[in-house]
Amino acid sequence: LSRWKKVDPALLDELEEVLISADTGVLVAEKLIDKIRKDKMNDPAAVKEAIKEGMINILTEHEGALNLPDAGPAVVVIVGVNGTGKTTTIGKLSERLRREGKKVVIAAADTFRAAAIEQLVIWGERSGATVIRHTGGADPAAVVFDALAAAKARGADILIVDTAGRLHTKVNLMEELKKIRRVLEREHPGSPHEILLVLDATAGQNSLVQARFFSRDIGITGIVLTKLDGTAKGGIIFSIMEELKIPVKMIGVGESIEDLRDFHAKEFVEALFE
């Protein structure tokens, strides 16, 4: 971009392509570039800054940190389609909370996938959290029920619920999530305090569809965007923010236990242009 001496249509086209290649989708890219066209800017450096500012404005419209009230326990449910990084994110989050002096209980409510419980148990050991589990094939809602009771009995600060990956198009699986939510609402009014949708930064426009379905079916309070340590930029979050007003609360930047960061709009936008 530094080779541009003036603002001409080719520069704007190139900037639009940078956005599209970051998975923002055409609508968001055109919206951001059209605003530049209307403002009739003539300094290339200023143009780039203006686009970044427009992007930051979209993201900061609905911001929010993780909401974990003193609610004996605060309940966080982790959901999303298959393989996005839910279980690993729980391990990372659990470790962060431990370092903050919080007592964590984890519900192993993925009773379907091979070795899902074993995987979570290892993360529980690594982060010093208690994992409540049943045998494989058990009813996930029953695991959640027991885990909530155990969390209350132990005076845990946080209960994190790991759920099986599921495609948003599978109605029976979305019903299963609704049931988990109902159990929590009934047994612990005010919960769940967070329902976090875990999205893979490598995914394209389908992440928006996922967000729509999960939001409509069980309500989403925040997003965790994982695998940002790859080359994908996760630009889909602009569309999600504009359409659904759901804040990105954290990002995953690797497979190790400390690879979880708070979401910062400015850093995210800068990284997109790198």
Binding site: I20, A114, L167, T169, A203, T231
Partner: protein, 292 residues
Amino acid sequence: SLTSKLDAVLKKFKGRGLLTEKDLEEGLREVRLALLEADVNFKVVKSFIERVKGRAMGREVMESLSPGQQVVKIVYEELCAVMGEGSKGLQLSPNLPTVIMLVGLQGSGKTTTAGKVARMFKQDGRKALLVAADIRRPAAVKQLEVLGEGLKVPVYTPDTGKDAVAVCTGGVEYGKKYGHDVVIIDTAGRLHIDDELMKELICIKDKVSPNEVLLVVDAMTGQDAVNIATHFNESLDITGVILTKLDGDARGGAVLSIRHVTGKPIRLLGMGEKLDQLEPFYPDRMASRILG
């Protein structure tokens, strides 16, 4: 649908006689939007649209009563052409055991696919062996063991302290020794930009000389598909691609990007979490899916 969108755009020009090149470009913008929305990489879309335009400038479109329909027909045909050959799956090589190595990004579906491939060969009366070479992810070995147990397919697992390369060479030797027809290696997910881990794959390939190196890709992959496919192909000269999670509603445009940059064949499609959900690849069905 794309046809009705194109007809709407091109109809307003038809009234005043023949379609012009400029009119056609307006219509092609709709095609571009559809492909980008389907996650086809923007560079691949550019070159694809150029090819479509070249064909669409002929009389069949420009003088047609329904140019929109003609353009869609050309787009569909060009998509099918890029998709390549249909494929029913994987074949055994004459020298046994056939060694199949599965590689790809984290969470793309390799371990599950390894189980599916093992089941496919077993159904065919073949003696399959699974090799659990992911010694990194918590309970990854256990995951493959559970899948193997369900299929009654043996799983070669690492001795403690062994590295992934040693597990692979050990697994293939075991397969040879006990007369297995096919050895399926499940590797750990990794980033294409992780030089050390990509070197590990190159080393495994070097040591076990697999008959197949299959890149397992999630159908919802976005613009990044070009980077992923290029890096894996340049490092390993992959023999094919398995696309997973097509039971969802992702349009799967990543497939067009991958075909465009690697030219390697799409071998199989993952259509669900169960081990019997592995299907052949039909290029025309994939083309329709991408077009939406």
